[in-house]
């Protein structure tokens, strides 16, 4: 193993001032996606935990950004300097970056690098919100902050280095005589699959909400408290996602300007295909369309588009979204009813599973043959390395900062217990007993 200067797999084309301005403008719109996910997280929590959920969304973004600025950006390696490379079987495996701490040198870095770092800040902010939503109604704020720090300081930087910043997955084509390297222009892997897997780890460690899985009968339905927040969050997310995918296509896939409108159209079509599919499936299965599942379907379409919107055809994007939209309600039901996984926001399905599907679809729709193999290698790394790593780190963390609120706190509601005041002080709040 040695520490060497960065070996980028392929030099990125120089960025003109106009492209820099366009990408920066897009990245300034991208936080709308984060706002959308925050609204969805809040709307799908119960009314007695709504303020805690929204405060958590905001505070987790702050914690993740600070930790990423201090440590994460250095380990990602986008700012250059050095990286840790393991030489095994005669091949270099770039494992982690060793850039300057505290973002030193950001001001004099090339424009493209500055934009890449900004993209990573937004990506890490989105990543930490996904497990937070899944832990709704029992995940403590302190544990949320600590888990966000771990994700932003260790897990996300490793993934971003491997996939975006010259790591071994980004160099599959150059170093391992493959036709192509792993492709993830919009963060389907680094943001959504990592976030979805983190959500599963949080749910397993924190356990289901009290009364969710009673001794007899089906699981208890605990619907989100505000469908309007959820659906408006989906509209906001669309705006952010359009900007996010186009900016990602410029930065990571080096998509030509003439293909950018196609990327945006593909993103929209994927979401629309997913919504149509989820609407149809829920209408067929339950007799009426389900608003919460339709929102999940819409978001799953956006997530799937993150992987392949830059190069799929419009019909292909509709298909990718349609498959994500069919899978979403079925998988949500399977996880809850068959596997006893209590995921209030559906992040495992919407972000984890749809992200994996998008990455596989990218293998089929990419212009170069052999892309599928690179995508499968990336997926194997996400499932076989990152998921056990996340679970291990979270399980250790849980020993020092318990994830789950105490039973009295859960009965009282996270708002009163954790922040001393409710989101809707004039409303009557349901007690647990009212569910069953």
């Amino acid at each position: 193993m040695s520490v060497t200067p960065p070996m980028l797999p392929a030099p990125a084309p120089a960025m003109s001032d106009a492209v820099f301005a366009l990408t920066l403008a897009l990245l300034l719109l991208a936080p709308m996606a984060i706002a959308g996910v925050a609204l969805i997280n809040t709307g799908l929590s119960r009314s007695r935990s709504a303020a805690q959920a929204m405060l958590g969304n905001l505070a987790l973004v702050a914690v993740a950004s600070i930790v990423f600025a201090f440590i994460g950006a250095s380990l990602t390696g986008s700012l250059g300097l050095k990286q840790v490379v393991l030489y095994a079987a005669g091949k270099p495996w770039s494992l982690v970056g060793l850039g300057p701490f505290l973002l030193r040198g950001l001001g004099v870095a090339p424009p493209q690098v500055q934009l890449a770092v900004l993209f990573e800040f937004l990506a890490v902010s989105m990543t930490v919100l996904l497990p937070w939503g899944s832990g709704a109604d029992r995940f403590r704020l302190a544990a949320g902050f600590a888990s966000a720090a771990i994700l932003a300081g260790i897990v996300f930087p490793l993934a971003a280095h491997w996939i975006w910043a010259g790591g071994w997955l980004a160099a599959l084509g150059a170093n391992f005589s493959m036709v192509a390297s792993f492709l993830d222009g919009g963060g389907a892997a680094t943001v959504h699959v990592i976030g979805g897997l983190s959500a599963l780890a949080v749910i397993w460690i924190a356990g289901p909400r009290r009364g969710k899985f009673p001794r007899e009968g089906l699981s208890t339905a605990m619907p989100g408290h505000n469908a309007i927040y959820v659906l408006f969050g989906c509209m906001l997310a669309l705006v952010g996602w359009l900007a996010w995918n186009v900016a990602g296509a410029i930065l990571w896939a080096h998509t030509p300007l003439t293909a950018l409108s196609g990327t945006a159209i593909n993103t929209l079509l994927s979401a629309c295909g997913a919504l149509a599919a989820t609407y149809s499936v829920t209408r067929f299965r339950f007799g009426k369309p389900d608003a919460s599942l339709c929102a999940n379907g819409w978001l799953a379409g956006l997530v799937a588009s993150s992987a392949c919107a830059a190069f799929a055809s419009p019909v292909g994007s509709l298909f990718v979204g349609g498959v994500a939209g069919v899978l979403t309600p079925l998988l949500v039901e399977l996880l809850e009813l068959a596997l006893s996984i209590d995921d209030p926001t559906g992040a495992i399905t919407v972000h984890g599973a749809a992200g994996l599907w998008g990455l596989i679809a990218a293998g089929f729709f990419a212009p170069q043959a052999g892309q599928l193999l690179a995508q499968l290698i990336g997926i194997a790394a996400l499932l076989g390395f990152f998921f056990p790593l996340i679970y291990l780190l979270f399980a250790l963390l849980n020993r020092f900062v318990p994830f789950r609120v105490d039973p009295d706190g859960e009965r009282m509601g996270m708002d009163l217990h954790e922040i001393g005041g409710g989101a809707y002080p004039e409303f009557v709040i349901h007690r647990d007993e009212s569910y069953r």
């Binding site: 391992f176 036709v179 289901p208 007899e216 499968l376 790394a381 390395f385």
Partner: protein, 60 residues
């Protein structure tokens, strides 16, 4: 069961890495990578089974 599954998953990942290191031709690589993913899937299934709580059990 909980942890056994999680320990099996990296084994699948190492199969994938072995495919990259050992086989230059895409066909064998693909076969090994698919085997690695299958092992990871089995590990995940075991882990899911291990985490399923008996109905009515309260989580501590």
């Amino acid at each position: 069961m909980k942890y056994a599954g999680l320990l099996v998953m990296p084994a699948g990942f190492f199969l994938t890495l072995a495919a990259l290191a050992l086989f230059p031709d895409p066909g064998r690589r693909m076969a090994f990578v698919l085997c690695g993913l299958a092992v990871e899937g089995m590990g995940l299934a075991v882990s899911v089974r291990g985490h399923m709580l008996p109905r009515g059990t309260s989580h501590s």
